[in-house]
């Protein structure tokens, strides 16, 4: 047996390194794949052997997908999770059905790649420089003098004033929409100076909306059991906390939060409190989030409550009032306060679900969804948050910007979903 075959047989038993591309409606499905021991979801296409393309995409968004595909190191294989085909990804292995199916398909594809000898899928785009090389001069620097000329035919860096009064180079770059350290679909056109964001614009989302049942939207039109609403809220919060923990490299605690979101029952409050204690011990608040992204003038749900103002649409609802509902608040207004606030609200939601019995709420055209006030005829709170993003992120360093995006629970898909009048 040759060395390649031996290595391949050994490698076939490894976890499958997967790069996920998340389209419309697939966010929590992909998040749940992180609990599977057969897979290892990686942050860079260079580290992956299998790309899983899940959810739905609008036509005309394939160019970026193909670029990601070509960045996968070889040997590689693409799996399309979902029935509708994606133009351009014609050779992808199509899998429809539940999580187990796609995991099994990924493992099979990986074993094939490792035990076979081929390089896997060929590139889908031509391998050429985006701009033709036009270097001249003794070192190809593009002209005479030290740095003269435009070697790639691209203009030299623009310069802009930096915050310490110097004029420094700035780099315009598009980040996203499938960068795993940002929420899926978030495309940021940023101007960086070093790693400080000087200007930022949110690009169009490459997601297609799917109709989905959501108890909070249902509660706009008809009364819904409070227990159902509050359990859905707790699940949402725990999923969100899992994402925040993943971004600060706390993979173990992140999985724990995700498992807890699946097991969110009314009596799980003590477990959430233990999770909170573990998070505090990890130094998340002190080392990673304290003082980051102070926002005290954004009147959206828990963002406002984390800045000490007790706004909550549930206070107006007779169903909630009969349960003695009072909004909890936190002081601080920074990313750490927002995480603490949501942990406290998770516990509160579980307590409400436990004490609600058969009580119902809603039917008045207003409901507090996990992000904030959802009202007939107004934009959803997710859209308000997304709109506030450029103002909040300009002037931040990249690492803090990522923390802030996650602390604001940005969800491009939820922002697109209008509230019917």
């Amino acid at each position: 047996m040759g060395l390649r075959a031996l290595l391949g047989r050994l490698a076939a038993g490894a976890e499958v390194p997967v790069f996920p591309v998340v389209g419309g409606g697939a966010r929590s499905q992909i998040q749940d794949l992180r609990l599977r021991s057969e897979l290892m979801l990686v942050d860079s296409p260079r580290h992956a052997a299998v790309m899983i393309v899940a959810g739905s995409f609008p036509p005309g968004e394939v160019e970026g997908l193909l670029q990601v595909h070509d960045q996968l190191a070889r040997p590689r294989r693409t799996i399309r999770w979902g029935a509708e085909p994606v133009p351009g990804l014609d050779d992808a292995l199509v899998v429809s059905g539940d999580e187990n199916r796609v995991v099994a398909a990924a493992v099979d594809a990986f074993v094939d790649l490792m035990t076979g000898s081929g390089p896997g899928e060929p590139p889908l785009l031509p391998d050429v420089d985006p701009v033709e090389w036009r270097g001249v001069g003794p070192y190809g620097q593009g002209g005479m003098g030290m740095t003269g000329g435009t070697p790639y035919g691209r203009p030299m860096a623009e310069r802009g004033p930096a915050r310490d009064g110097l004029e420094l180079d700035q780099v315009p770059i598009t980040i996203g929409p499938w960068l795993p350290s940002l929420p899926p679909g978030l495309r940021l056109h940023v101007v960086l100076q070093g790693d400080v964001i000087q200007a930022l614009e949110v690009g169009p989302a490459p997601l297609r909306l799917l109709d989905r049942v959501d108890p909070f939207r249902q509660a706009l039109v008809e009364p819904v059991p409070i227990a159902e609403l509050e359990l859905a809220r707790a699940r949402h919060h725990l999923r969100w906390i899992a994402e925040v923990l993943r971004i600060v490299d706390l993979a173990g605690l992140s999985r724990r939060a995700l498992v807890l979101s699946h097991r969110a029952r009314p009596e799980a409050g003590a477990e959430v409190r233990r999770l909170e204690a573990a998070i505090a011990r990890s130094g998340l608040f002190v080392m990673a989030l304290r003082g980051v992204g102070r926002i005290s003038d954004l009147p959206v749900g828990w963002v406002a409550r984390a800045a000490g103002s007790a706004v909550d649409a549930r206070s107006e609802d007779p169903g909630y009032r009969s349960l003695g509902f009072r909004p909890v608040t936190t002081e601080g207004a920074d990313a750490a306060a927002r995480v603490r606030q949501r942990l406290a609200e998770t516990v509160q939601s579980l307590e409400l679900a436990a004490s609600a019995g058969e009580a119902r709420a809603g039917g008045h055209g207003v409901m507090e969804d996990p992000r904030g006030r959802l009202e007939v005829g107004s934009p959803p709170p997710a859209a308000t948050l997304l709109e506030a993003l450029p103002d909040v992120l300009v002037g931040q360093e990249w690492g803090d910007a990522v923390s802030i995006v996650h602390s604001l629970d940005i969800d491009v898909e939820a922002a697109l979903r209008e509230v019917p009048a």
Binding site: G137, Y139, Q141, M146, T147, R163, D164, D169
Partner: protein, 186 residues
């Protein structure tokens, strides 16, 4: 001096000269900085070969940090996006050639003419300890005044680079300074 030592000095000496020459032949600021570091490492290795381990290793330790800082500063001050575009490392060619030839001749003359003291160190002497006695003995005034001056420069640099910048606190966000100076100046 043993044959092995002579061999080491020749090898590292050639390495120091070649990597020093490459500093000016490369087209990348980062490569230039690290070729210079390689040159210093070779000089440090020569010192180690000459049984002056402490001096040689401390030279290497210092240069690693300094060259990275130098690379960053070069990239910062050049109109070259993140230093990623190729560029020429030599400028003012005539002056540079004249300075190079001049200093080579000067040093070569010194090397040939000067009467170097033949003062063999006794076997078993500890050069590190000798260095310590020298620094805190005869040469104390020189080294202490240089040390205090450097310390003052460091404190000054920290004060200048502090977050209380000319245009307000650094963490107050990236706000462009006003074009018109404020009343009374700041």
């Amino acid at each position: 001096m043993s044959a092995l030592q002579t061999f080491g000095i020749v090898i590292f000496g050639v390495g120091a000269v070649v990597s020093g020459w490459l500093v000016f032949r490369t087209d990348s600021m980062v490569r230039a900085a690290y070729w210079l570091m390689a040159s210093f490492v070779a000089v440090g290795a020569i010192l180690v070969t000459l049984d002056s381990q402490f001096l040689g290793l401390i030279l290497i330790l210092m240069m690693a940090g300094e060259m990275t800082i130098m690379a960053i500063f070069m990239v910062m001050f050049m109109m070259n996006p993140a230093g990623l575009n190729p560029m020429v490392m030599v400028h003012q060619h005539r002056t540079a050639i004249a300075a190079g030839v001049g200093s080579f001749l000067l040093l070569a003359t010194v090397a040939l003419v000067a009467d170097f003291p033949a003062d063999p160190v006794p076997l078993g002497a500890d050069p590190t300890a000798e260095l310590g006695f020298e620094l805190l003995g005869r040469s104390m005034l020189v080294f202490e005044s240089a040390g205090v001056a450097l310390l003052a420069v460091m404190i000054g640099a920290v004060a200048v680079a502090g977050k209380w910048g000319r245009f307000g606190d650094a963490d107050a966000g990236s706000v462009e300074p006003e074009l018109e100076p404020e009343e009374g100046g700041s």
